[in-house]
């Protein structure tokens, strides 16, 4: 069922290509940019005073640093020639320089620390917001979005925003102050010499534009090629055994070589243009140095400026061109940070699960009467999967749902739990529309054991007690015993306190399922869902726990999905689902007597 959603997602980008959808996307992006920056600044503005302090520090620190070269020029001017040095002046200026520079360094350190504090607070808040949003999103969201994609929101994207906030903001401010400041300083030294930049600045703009124009598609191609290679490697290492079984090593290695050739070639091409940046920036710097030397010397000969002026000018010109050369880079980074922030915000803004109605009633002492009244549903709006399903279960009844893979059995369960909302029709519990209940109460009234077991990184004990915080240790052990998993748990190094890790290879699928059965046993619910609950448990163990299962099902309305028809023969009612319709229903014997679909399924299994 998750498949259809995922399929649609996969098709999405393919269709969008070449249509106007891309244009629309672009437009909406440019509109959003402003909003994104605004929203980002809201995160920052929670720390108004800290931000004000940061602003002050960065302005003061940079201005102090800007005064230095001017002072050094004046000091050098006092060094006129042998025996003529004015030491008083030199000392004066040197001390001033030292003071300004030290102050500037101290301020910039404080500024960095301050910015780290502020951004980490923002990052904390953003991550929290994302996670909160994740907890409230409907299940369908997770069908349509790959886990890796969501994870990159909360890690990679937020990290990008983080770096940008902590360094780029300061960098941009510093650049502006430095460029403007150096410009005025140079202007005050010599308006003539400044004309040099009329040549060099457009030149550096042209060069960086040329390089970034060349490299951007190349870098994109490079990461795509690398992505393909990595995907190939992952797939082939995953299929190691199969490749060996069919003796396809040679074949696979050759395919790898093709991919690898492509990857190194793309890396090379991107690297080639990318590595031009450094030397080219240097070239422009050297060119301005040459120009300053020549014109400075000419002006000096004409007694328009002093040697100290030339010195200061050289230093300022370096300061001046630095940010201009970097501007393209910083802006790029800033832009990618904005894009990342936008992706994060989009996730935060995803439509959440419907909130409870204001007059929603709490659901306690459930009797367990469940009715489906003409329910239709599709994971994708125009692709109806369940058509006009009607069924009713009396309290304590066992309803079995059978049918081929993909017939829609699990979908019925998904609707019961309100993981998805129905397209039309009505579902009621205890004769009341289930939407009128509080969502959490509704879900808590079910206990659930699924084919895909989920255990989290915690102790065995925590995993069993997950649904019932009030369970005592004795109760947990009882449940484990009933699920025939107690002995296994005792054999673990730390018994019930053994931590189950993600790659706990020593625990089999069947054992995992037994743990989730134990978990369900601790729940005090009046309805029970078993979706292939014992599919991974071997048949002997299944028989061993059958007593406990009967106890678990006792006095509960049960919905059971099972492949093995033997497990459901005692159900009060069996629903046979085919292509989203209930084609037959009745007891085991009634359906056998009908000699239709169920009958043929049953015979196939036991003939």
């Amino acid at each position: 069922m998750a498949k259809t959603g995922a399929d649609m997602f996969r098709m999405g980008p393919k269709i969008a290509k070449g249509t106007s959808a891309e244009e629309i996307y672009k437009n909406s992006r440019s509109i959003n940019k402003k909003g994104t920056i605004l929203r980002l600044s809201k995160y920052l503005m929670r720390y108004k005073y800290l931000m004000a302090a940061a602003l002050f520090l960065s302005i003061a620190g940079n201005v102090f640093a800007l005064i230095g070269p001017k002072l050094s020029g004046q000091a050098i001017d006092a060094i006129t020639g042998t025996g003529q040095v004015d030491f008083k002046k030199v000392t004066h200026y040197c001390i001033l320089m030292a003071i300004f520079y030290i102050a500037s360094s101290v301020m910039s350190y404080i500024l960095s620390v301050l910015m780290i504090h502020i951004t980490q607070k923002c990052v904390y808040q953003m991550r929290k917001d994302v996670y909160d949003s994740l907890m409230k999103l409907p299940v369908s969201y997770f069908d349509k979005h790959q886990t890796g994609e969501i994870l990159s929101r909360i890690s990679y994207d937020i990290d990008t925003v983080n770096t940008s906030l902590s360094t780029d903001l300061v960098q941009i401010l510093t650049s502006v102050i430095t460029v403007v400041g150096s410009f005025f300083m140079m202007l005050s030294i010599s308006p003539m010499l400044i004309l040099i930049f009329v040549v060099t600045i457009p030149l550096s703009f042209l060069i960086t534009k040329f390089i970034t124009g060349k490299t951007r598609p190349l870098f994109r191609e490079r990461s795509a090629a690398l992505g393909r290679l990595n995907g190939f490697v992952e797939e082939m290492i995953g299929g190691h055994k199969t490749i060996k079984a069919y003796h396809r090593e040679e074949n696979t290695i050759n395919k790898f070589k093709e991919n690898n050739d492509d990857a190194v070639k793309c890396y090379y091409e991107a690297e080639y243009f990318g590595s031009m940046t450094g030397p080219c920036v240097n070239f422009v710097n050297n060119l301005s140095l040459a120009c300053i030397s020549v014109f400075g010397a000419v002006l000096y000969i004409g007694a328009k400026i002093s040697i100290g002026d030339i010195s200061s000018f050289v230093l300022y010109s370096r300061k001046f061109s630095g940010p201009i050369n970097e501007a393209a880079n910083v802006l790029n980074e800033f832009q990618s940070a904005i894009a990342a922030a936008e992706r994060v915000f989009r996730l935060i803004d995803e439509p959440k699960e419907p909130v409870d109605k204001p007059d929603a009633v709490s659901l306690s002492n459930v009797e367990g009467k469940v009715d489906f009244d003409n329910v239709s549903f599709g994971y994708v709006r125009d692709k109806i999967i369940l058509k006009d399903i009607s069924l009713s279960a009396k309290p304590g009844q066992v309803i079995a749902i059978v049918g081929e893979t993909g017939a829609g059995k699990t979908t019925i369960i998904n609707l019961l739990m309100r993981f998805y909302d129905i397209a039309s029709g009505k579902i009621s519990i205890d004769d009341k529309n289930y939407r009128d209940y509080k969502m959490s109460d509704l879900r808590k009234s079910f206990a659930m054991v699924l084919q895909d077991t989920w255990l989290f990184n915690g102790t065995v004990y925590e995993n069993i007690a997950y649904g019932n915080e009030n369970a005592t240790r004795q109760q947990v052990i009882e449940a484990a015993k009933a699920a025939k998993i107690h002995r296994y748990i005792e054999s673990l190094p730390d018994g019930y306190d053994t931590v189950l890790t993600e790659n706990a290879t020593n625990i089999s699928k069947g054992q995992k399922q037994l743990l989730t059965i134990a978990r369900a046993m601790l729940l005090d619910s009046s309805m029970l869902i078993l979706d292939e609950a014992t599919s991974n448990v071997d048949i002997v163990t299944e028989a061993d726990i059958s007593g406990a299962m009967v106890k678990l099902m006792k006095n509960k309305t049960c919905f059971v999905i099972a492949h093995r028809l033997s497990t459901i023969q005692n159900a009060d009612r069996i629903l046979v689902v085919k292509d989203g319709n209930i084609v037959e229903q009745g007891t085991h014997q009634e359906l056998l007597d009908k000699k239709q679909f169920y009958y043929s399924m049953y015979n196939a299994q036991f003939s």
Binding site: K3, D7, R10, A65, A75, I76, V85, V90, C94, A98, Y101, I102, S105, V106, Y109, Q120, Y124, D132, L134, V139, T147, L151, N162, E235, M236, I237, G238, G239, H240, T242, K244, Y246, R248, N251, I253, F256, V264, S275, P279, C280, N282, N286, L289, S293, A297, I307, V314, E404, S440, R443, W454, N457, Y466, E502, I539, V540, S566, A604, Q605, S607
Partner: protein
């Protein structure tokens, strides 16, 4: 590190040329401030504008040579890195493909993947920067100091005296900061793991309304990550201000000492200006070198991890095909003779397994999960070597076969077998010489042909990664057609029908029976219905053969089998 040099060695001549080009380019960079000083101190006092312009042009020429040299050298460096990397990656991947299954288990698939992807990437980067910065920075550092020495040795000494301080700061930050970053990285990994866990368990979390609880758990981790990143960041933030501080203090000292020296007639003002520029160059070079060291240490551990793969020799020893060990023709087709095996060398996973099978017979293996059914297959196909005992196929010990020849006898479907991100036909053919006709025949026999022809492009349709656009049952049927398409001598079906409904399962088994009378089939299953028509069924219990015989015999003699059977057939029997 040896690894990197070993793979770059074949390109040594090209690297030397590159170094030389780089050297000349970098020297030009160093020459420029020197010319500036020369203009101010020597040319300007003569007030000869023509000579000033002349020297200015020399500077421009130098700048051009520098940019050309550096760009060319960088290009050559990238091409060396490209060619070395290509070979290194190919070798590593080949080595991985040649690892035995046991070795893959030991390494674990995920580390092999990360070694193949991020570790080779790290090395590619260091190959590039090593040639670029690794050459340029030392030249700038040493060359810069030499040039300043010729200008004024005393000022040069002042400049050099600040370098140890810089080194201390850099080492301090690296020593403290890098471990801090590593702990931050770990915390961040834990956080991502937690989110991944929440996403996979979202249904359970929602069903049990544990959202608030999970939020709290996440908050603790979030705080932890933020704290650790703060610590690391604050330590690292020290570098730039300290660098600037040293640079500026150096400047002040040079101006002051320079003033004394000019007064004594030992140096000229233009040289002080040149010094200020050189100082910047030298400090930047120092910084590049330290950055290079950090990269080196990271690449070093990557290189080690790759070296481990390259050094690993497959522990399945291959036998020469020419080796015509006598075949004992009196033996049955497949024989397990007292085979024992242990994955970890301590506890036996299989003990004293003996059975035999004639050509064309059908064997069923049944037993609880973890009892050792798949291990039998792993040994038969020689993914692992037996600890003791012998396995014969066609009267010959399987260790005397060429591994390729041995495995080509088989067609196999494993548990959790893999569908490749490729076309349907490529997935079935898997690059073997199989005609379209045979492929379709196989697809028909495994009841997937009709589904394939419904797909948009039939057999050319693309299957998503891991077959995500197929249902579990479709995947298994696709895998079965792969296994039977090659008309194997031995067909292995390891739990290949768990996602099939009973009807389809039965139909496929019937089709397979009709396909080849010479095919020896081994079916591993949990359902009695899948094996009940086998010529021989062995029941495995905790690594031992609990019973062996056909269905009827086992029903009477084997309690476990009878129990499984009666449980599965329910009350009808």
């Amino acid at each position: 590190m040896n690894l990197i040099f070993r793979y770059m060695k074949p390109h040594f001549p090209r690297m030397v040329v590159g170094f030389m080009v780089k050297f000349s380019g970098t020297v030009m960079d160093l020459l420029l401030p020197w010319i500036l000083a020369y203009i101010i101190d020597e040319v300007v006092p003569e007030a000869d504008i023509a000579r000033v312009v002349q020297w200015g042009l020399v500077m421009v020429v130098c700048a051009f040579i520098a940019v050309l040299g550096n760009v060319t050298a960088n290009r050559m460096a990238s091409s060396v890195a490209r060619d070395s990397m290509r070979v290194l990656r190919n070798d590593t991947f080949t080595a991985i493909m040649n690892l035995s299954c046991g070795q893959v288990d030991n390494f674990s698939q995920s580390t092999l993947i990360s070694r193949m992807t991020s570790d080779t990437y790290n090395i590619h980067q260091i190959m590039n920067s090593m040639q670029r910065m690794g050459v340029r920075a030392p030249i700038l550092l040493i060359g810069g100091i030499i040039v300043t020495m010729t200008l004024d040795p005393v000022l040069s000494a002042i400049l050099a005296s600040t370098l140890p301080f810089l080194a201390i700061v850099v080492i301090y930050v690296a020593k403290k900061g890098i471990p801090l970053y590593n702990t931050h990285q770990k915390a961040s990994d834990v956080m991502i793991g937690r989110v991944r866990e929440s996403i996979t368990g979202i249904r359970v979390i929602k069903a049990l309304s544990k959202g608030d609880y999970e939020r709290e758990r996440f908050e603790n981790i979030n705080l932890d990550v933020v704290e650790k990143e703060k610590k690391a960041g604050i330590t690292m933030a020290l570098t730039n201000p300290v660098m600037n501080f040293l640079l500026n203090v150096g400047w002040v000292m040079i101006i002051f000492v320079g003033a004394v020296r000019v007064n004594a007639g030992l140096t000229a003002p233009g040289k002080i200006i040149a010094f200020l520029t050189y100082f910047t160059i030298i400090l930047n070079a120092m910084l590049s070198i330290t950055r290079l060291f950090v990269m080196f240490s990271r690449a070093g551990s990557s290189a080690e991890r790759i070296e481990e793969i390259l050094q690993a020799r497959s522990d399945i020893k291959n036998q020469d095909t020419n080796d015509n060990k006598s075949c004992d023709e009196s033996l049955p087709y497949i024989v397990f003779d007292n085979v024992s095996f242990s994955y970890n060398g301590n506890v036996d996973n299989l003990s004293d397994i003996s059975f035999s099978l004639e050509k064309g017979q059908k064997l069923g293996i049944i037993g609880a999960t973890g009892s050792g059914k798949t291990t039998i297959i792993n040994l038969l196909m020689r993914f692992y070597d037996v600890s003791s005992g012998k396995i014969f196929i066609d009267g010959k010990d399987i260790r005397d076969y060429d591994v390729g020849v041995l495995r080509e006898k088989f067609g196999a479907v494993f548990q959790n077998d893999i569908i490749f991100e490729d076309s349907v036909s490529e997935n079935i053919k898997l690059g073997r010489n199989i005609t379209d006709e045979n492929m379709k025949k196989a697809a028909k026999a495994s009841c997937i042909d009709s589904h394939i022809s419904q797909m948009d492009e039939g057999y050319d349709s693309f299957l998503a990664i891991r077959g995500n656009n197929l249902s579990g049952g479709q995947k298994q049927r696709m895998l079965i057609s792969r296994a039977i398409a090659g008309n194997p001598e031995i067909l292995v079906l390891d739990d290949s029908s768990s996602a099939l409904d009973y009807k389809t399962d039965a139909a496929i088994r019937k089709n397979i029976d009709e396909m080849g009378k010479n095919t020896t089939t081994i079916i591993v299953a949990q359902r009695v219905s899948s094996v009940l028509d086998c010529d021989k069924i062995i029941v495995i219990d905790e690594g031992r053969i609990a019973a062996c015989g056909n269905h009827d015999k086992l029903l009477k003699t084997c309690a476990i089998y009878a129990r499984i059977s009666s449980l599965q057939s329910g009350i009808t029997q």
